[in-house]
Amino acid sequence: MKTIYLDNNATTMVAPEVLEEMLPYFSQYYGNPSSMHSFGGQVAKKISEAREKTASLIGAEPDEIIFTSCGTESDNTAILSALDVNPGRRHIVTTRVEHPAVKVLCEHLAEKGYLITTLEVDSEGSLNMEQYENSLTSDTAVVSIMWANNETGVIFPVERTAQLAREKGALFHTDAVQAVGKIPIDMKNNAINMLSFSGHKLHAQKGMGVLYARRGTRFSPHLIGGHQEKGRRGGTENTPAIIGLGKACELAGQNLIEENGRIRELRNRLESKILNLIPNVKVNGGQPNRLPNTSNISFEFVEGESILLLLDQYGICASSGSACTSGSLQPSHVLRAMGVPYTMAHGSIRFSLSVYNTVEEIDFVINTLPPVIEKLRNMSPYWTTDQGVCKNL
């Protein structure tokens, strides 16, 4: 059975070009880039090339790039650093819809005595800007707002919010794990102090993160040890992963046009056909201002895990914000923050595409989904057929 992978916001395939680039650095050129021999030195040169490519994707300078082990490490480092360099300020501003790497850290910091403002979003998933502006005080140490939401793809106005934070003397961090590689980002044109992203969301390997730290932004390392990353992150470099990331960033830059053209069209095709064929369906955060690859769709009166496991029978991979799949007993915190009713929240499915998806795959999903939803609705106590039936193509 062919796998149709529409879960690219969870993780992505390592691109063949990336893998090829990495392979020699496992057992052939395995030297330590810090070594004083040319065997290690040649690896250092490759790392600096990778750093340039990584910086280039987001319009940064190479020395603003810190390689880390994952997006979570980058997020944690950024926020803890901002608190560390601003010991007089005890206030953090964030949102209700952050990834756990930021959300749970902030909850932890609240227990430690920091004051946290958690910004609301509206039913479309957009930030309450008035609440944001009112929340900033002279006590605010750091603002952490994601660039784009992982579940809905909704894009936040981080460039504007960063400017407002700067005016209040607060540092601004953004979790851009879902944004980098999907939409154009140019750090030369904004006031963002720190930005996190992750290799495995853009066709590099897992266990590879990036923290951008703007020149002139005071920084306090989280992993303290060796001189690597100019003392901002100790630990021997993960050389194959870094070199692979460099290639992945180069490819992502080249693919931005396709991502925002062909992939956006495929996503729109999937979405509009589903809305057309299946009654009682809603797109969550379906505003124009969102990532081109993401669609979060709720199917009323059915439960997400059941949908996923039936799709799994056809090789289709997606994810859900239902309670049963989140590992907790409540549906996704993002959908709850948006006020999505329970009848919809438990039946939400996220499709997230990549440049490797084809129109044939999307059409296969469009054909497969209506009978799957119909089957589950037929056994749902809340569904009556007078509410409509699913059409087939």
Binding site: E303, S306, C324, M379, P381
Partner: protein
């Protein structure tokens, strides 16, 4: 991804007995869409008062659908009395087990069955003194207590896996812990008032024996010790220590601080415990 057994997968992909029976003998609806799973169960009896047909409709995950499917299969051919004996563990066993976090799906099945049988018998489900403990998922104290007793649950996390109680805002965790403690610590508050009826000697002896057996011995055995009741003279309870207690420096403290305290609390405040050599 959950590790479902082949049987769970099979019942999820090909659920048996979907639907509703018209004019059923027993019917129940449990759960809610807010909680993430709901089950409507109907059954019909034949002329011999055996369950001829059972059907379900479920809103929920794969294990909720499989549990409901399994339950309807288990019900067929049983009398109502036989059906009453089905527990959530039986449903889970029928499916070759459920992941711990999904045990609440089997509990939902048992709840539906109980309610449907109550409907058939024409008795009310709601017990008058029931209290909602978990407001997030609407779970009552008696539901939690039943799950704790039936499945020998000892931790809040397990109670959440089986009943969902405590899985939301967590504000009820203290109350859940109190229910767990109550189940394992049979101190019944209503037995404590000072105005206690005077016991006959025979009653007193029997109660002392029972208290030692039920309340005291399990704790001592847990630490590798034991005691034997040797004699009861008036209010003097004469015991001999065994096992680890016999050589334990702290056994006097245990006898006074634990054994005597329990007997005073549960039998009569006048009792004193004394150690005798075996």
């Amino acid at each position: 991804m959950w590790e479902y057994t082949d049987k769970v997968r099979e019942h999820f992909l090909n659920p048996r007995n979907i639907g509703e029976i018209e004019d059923p003998d027993g019917v129940a609806e449990v759960g809610s869409i807010a909680c993430g799973d709901a089950l409507k169960l109907t059954f019909k009896l034949d002329e011999n008062k055996r369950i001829k047909d059972a059907r379900f409709k479920t809103f929920g995950c794969a294990s909720a659908i499989a549990s409901a499917s399994a339950l309807t299969e288990m019900l067929k051919g049983k009398t109502v009395e036989e059906a009453t004996a089905i527990t959530n563990q039986d449903i889970a066993n029928y499916l070759g087990g459920l992941p711990p976090e999904k045990m609440h799906c089997s509990v939902l099945g048992q709840e539906a069955l109980e309610k449907a049988i109550e409907h058939y018998k024409g008795v009310s489900h709601k017990k008058p003194d029931e209290e909602i403990v978990c407001a997030c998922f609407g779970v009552t104290d008696s539901e939690i207590e039943q799950a704790v007793r039936q499945n020998h649950l000892t931790a809040i996390e397990e109670v959440t896996n089986y009943t969902k109680a405590g899985g939301g805002c967590k504000n009820c965790h203290e109350k859940i812990q109190a229910i767990i403690d109550r189940v394992y610590d049979a101190v019944k508050p209503e037995e404590q008032p000072a105005a206690r009826p005077k016991l006959t000697n025979l009653q007193k002896i029997r109660m002392i024996e029972e208290t030692i057996e039920r309340e005291i011995r399990p704790s001592l055995k847990h630490d590798g010790g034991d005691i034997d009741l040797v004699d009861i003279v008036g209010n003097r309870v004469l015991v001999a220590t065994r096992g680890a207690c016999a050589t334990c420096q702290a056994s006097q403290a245990t006898l006074k601080g634990f054994v005597e305290l329990k007997l005073k609390e549960l039998v009569s405040p006048e009792l004193v415990v004394e150690e005798v050599l075996p």
